[in-house]
Symmetry: C2
């Protein structure tokens, strides 16, 4: 009986919390079967300390992040095809873990559906607010949307959104201080001289080849491991 | 110059080895852009000792295996949409790592393309032969193809192949001793009383929900960690 009361209190509290930052529950039918497979998979994992969560769409999903950084604390919460509303709808699963860090990259699938840059930014700021409220000790890193390239003749609805991607990124940069997150500009490093995704990092103008993930790792490394890790690599004082 | 000669020797040796077991290189255009993204990603990872490799199609790809088993040695080599020829074409990447164990699950996408059960088995036996030849110390576990269920009205080309799946599985079981692998029957445990994928493990009749991955973990656990791990859990003799 005690357990049932506790559960009810938790559910009511979660509902109030979501309402406080303007989150709403979306109907299940809005998301793909793959979305539900992944979310139900994530929910089976026990809570662990010091998690570093990578959350996003197919570009995050396709990365073997714990292998790339050689660290089991890194958890892949990417879902191919996901949009900002999809992340909003499942951010509870991440917040409840009270992770040490969250790396978010979302929005290009929204733009491909002709959702406006402002709407994408609004949803990302809601995600930031919710995490801040639910797990204030978690460091949030909002990554810029990556550039795209239409030269491959694939994903045309995505790769013609170069300008909108830049608009989202600029707004995300501007709001970083207001919403207490660190903005990480990946766009500049992944772009060629025309602001398009460098051709040798991709084979479809949207997703990453191995070389793209290596560049990404290089850019994220200081944020993932931070100063603490670097300090621990310094020579330790010898025992007297 | 020495390095170039060494490289040439390696390439020639690899070609001879592939030819010895009847492997051939397929044209890149045969596989998806996602296939190439994943393979190029896998190739960037350094060789590590004692790897436990999970290789297969979307059902393997969708699993967070290292998190599920809480072990960084477990590497995800799943590629959504992959077929037995796709695994043959990329098995080099796995063999070169000389992993401790390989868990293979492939074939349902072949059957969906109306490739025969015999052809699927032939390719899987080629994979087994190649691994045996290239990395004899690696333990290979060939998993049965999982059952499917047509009640969800999705993936109809896959979910109408229940009988062919059973044929593949029976042949794989029969060849285990001849090809020095351990056959793991997942099919029985995932099936309902009619031999179809249990409805509560899936939302599309083909792919797994979180509960499906938990059952899978339960069935694989003794094979993944083996007797050595179990032994290490026994009380250690006290120091005198």
């Amino acid at each position: 009986m005690k357990r049932i009361i506790c559960l009810l209190v938790l559910i009511v509290n979660a509902s109030i919390s979501r309402a406080q930052v303007g989150l709403r529950h979306y109907p299940d039918s809005l998301f793909s079967t793959y979305y539900h497979q992944r979310v139900s998979h994530f929910k089976t994992f026990p809570q662990t300390k010091g998690d570093i969560v990578f959350i996003g769409n197919s570009i995050t999903d396709g990365g073997e992040w714990s292998e790339l950084f050689n660290d089991l604390k890194i958890k892949n919460r990417g879902i191919s095809g996901d949009v900002s509303a999809g992340v909003l709808n499942r951010i509870d699963e991440v917040a409840q873990r009270k992770p040490a860090k969250v790396f978010l990259l979302i929005g290009v699938n929204d733009l491909a559906r002709n959702i406006t840059a402002d709407s994408v930014v609004k949803n990302i700021l809601l995600i930031a607010s919710y995490l801040k409220q639910q797990t204030p000790s978690t460091q949030l890193f909002v990554q810029s949307i990556l550039p795209v390239n239409d030269a491959f003749g694939k994903f045309s609805g995505h790769t013609n959104k170069g300008q909108q991607i830049k608009q989202v990124n600029e707004k995300l940069r501007q709001q970083a201080n207001n919403y207490s997150y660190t903005f990480i500009d990946l766009h500049t490093s992944f772009s060629d001289e025309n602001g398009k995704l460098q051709k040798d990092l991709t084979d479809d103008g949207l997703h990453m080849l191995g070389k793209g993930y290596l560049l990404w790792k290089h850019l994220l490394y200081p944020h993932v491991f931070g100063l603490q890790q670097q300090t621990s690599l310094l020579p330790q004082p010898q025992k007297l």
